[in-house]
């Protein structure tokens, strides 16, 4: 049994992220009972931030973790709270999904709820904090209107009129009660989001059921691609739950890895899945397999390297990602339209993200410098 605080090969947090993915020996069992209150407070906070409370609860249940009564009670209560939030979010999901479907919008559920129901042994293994929906680009404005009318205004205004429908990843809408809906046109911001074959996401459908209603989501293969995009590009240091999704889909759900590479190549995004798999295997300390060997030896193209920097550099920002997207927009006309939208943003967008045109100019100039220095 390993006590927290000892020089472990990898942290208890990473260990929890891997529960259920591999066999563990008795001397790998983590003991939380001996740790100080300060260490426990820190670990507890990180479990919540990394959305790993459900996995910690199952680790306790299956004996991979041992804990004091107080620690066990806290984890159990947190698990119940995170699942309470999940059912509240799913009720909101049903309302929004139904309204969009009635309006004739071909909507798909993404991430949290769909992944919890279809990719984990039980939906209670996966916590999530918002509702994610994908709509066709030409329905983005109508879907936004539905959310506005339901009392969920956009968090940030559109860069300029029509930008979202043509180039954007999507937008976040927040209800008065704090619940959030992320409405997607694509699965990533910036260059990698612009080369995704969006039509294919709608062609392959899978369904799952909540409260007696069948909901449509993207295919298992595309959920894996999206999980990789989220893990590799979503944050400089990805949440462990995002890495767990990648590993869960490959190891438990047996996503066809060769097909995923073919799709990634078509989307000019092999570097994205390579980064996601590498990070997952490294953080969760999983035994090597074909996918991890491929990921660790994959050599990104010049384009991929430059594009990745917009997401992974210390100066990453919405501005750097969007600026880096110019190279991925097909055709001169498209590039000009993209640049025009960035150079002449709407006043509402400026006031939401920057205090003034001057502040935006300074951020844009910094993004440009960043983009140049990476070439």
């Amino acid at each position: 049994m390993t006590a927290l605080g000892s020089p472990d090969r990898f942290s208890t947090l990473d260990f929890v992220a891997g529960v259920g993915l591999r066999e563990f020996s008795e001397d790998e069992i983590r003991d939380l009972q001996g740790i100080s209150e300060v260490e426990w407070t820190q670990l507890h906070r990180e479990l919540l931030l990394e959305r790993l409370v459900p996995l910690a609860a199952y680790a306790l249940d299956h004996g991979a973790l041992t804990a004091s009564d107080i620690q066990r009670t806290q984890i159990t209560q947190d698990h119940a709270r995170s699942m309470s939030l999940a059912v509240v979010l799913e009720r909101r999901l049903l309302e929004v999904y139904s309204e969009m479907s009635l309006a004739g919008i071909d909507v798909r559920v993404l991430k949290g709820s769909a992944v919890a129901h279809l990719d984990y042994p039980d939906p209670s293994w996966r916590a999530f904090g918002d509702v994610d929906l994908l709509v066709p680009a030409d329905s983005f404005a109508a879907a936004s209107e539905i959310l506005n009318a339901a009392g969920a205004p956009r968090r940030f205004a559109e860069v300029s009129k029509g930008f979202d429908s043509r180039f954007g990843k999507g937008a976040c809408f927040v209800y008065a009660d704090g619940l959030q809906v992320d409405l997607h046109r694509s699965i990533a911001e910036g260059p990698f989001g612009l080369t995704v074959d969006l039509d294919s996401l709608f062609n392959d459908v899978e369904e799952f059921e909540i409260g007696g209603v069948n909901l449509r989501t993207i295919s298992r293969q595309h959920r894996f691609m999206h999980a990789c995009f989220h893990a590799a590009l979503g944050d400089v240091s990805p949440r462990l739950v995002a890495l767990r999704d990648v590993a869960e889909m490959l190891l438990v759900n047996k996503v066809d890895f060769s097909d995923a590479v073919v799709t990634a190549r078509a989307w000019r995004a092999e570097a994205v899945i390579a980064r996601a798999i590498s990070l997952a295997w490294q953080r969760i300390d999983l035994p090597p397999n074909d996918a991890s060997r491929w990921a660790n030896t994959y050599s990104p193209s010049g384009y991929e390297e430059r594009a990745l920097r917009a997401y992974t550099s210390e100066n990453r920002s919405y501005a750097t990602q969007v600026a880096a997207g110019v190279t991925a927009v097909p055709g001169i006309t498209g590039k000009l339209a993209y640049m025009r939208a960035l150079l002449l943003p709407s006043r509402q967008h400026i006031s939401g993200r920057d205090s003034s045109y001057w502040a935006r100019f300074r951020r844009g100039a910094a993004a440009l410098r960043e983009s140049r220095s990476s070439q």
């Binding site: 459900p54 306790l60 699942m83 799913e90």
Partner: protein, 91 residues
């Protein structure tokens, strides 16, 4: 109040999650999620199939070796609340 002989079952409209904490349910008439623990969870689990209160009380009486009448009174409130929030449907 539904009759004791009424046949009842979990409503398919309930959104739920179960785990080591018990069961969290959000029924059509619930404003907030409801956490079912201990015997309330057992009642809920037994309601995954069509049952009567009598059947449920009998199952729990056998399980706990308790008096059938005592169990019946204990589960009465739980079941009434589940019916009131439409967490269970009555045949």
């Amino acid at each position: 109040m539904a009759k004791a002989s009424a046949v009842i079952k979990q409503s398919p409209e309930v959104i739920s999650r179960s785990g080591p904490f018990g069961v969290v349910i959000l029924a059509p008439r619930d404003i907030e999620p409801r956490l079912l623990e201990g015997s309330a969870r057992l009642v809920w689990d037994l309601l995954s199939d069509w049952s009567t209160r009598e059947d449920i009380a009998e199952s729990l009486a056998k399980l706990f070796g308790e008096d059938h009448g005592v169990i019946s009174r204990d589960i009465e409130m739980v079941i009434e609340e589940l019916i009131a929030t439409e967490a269970v449907v009555v045949s």
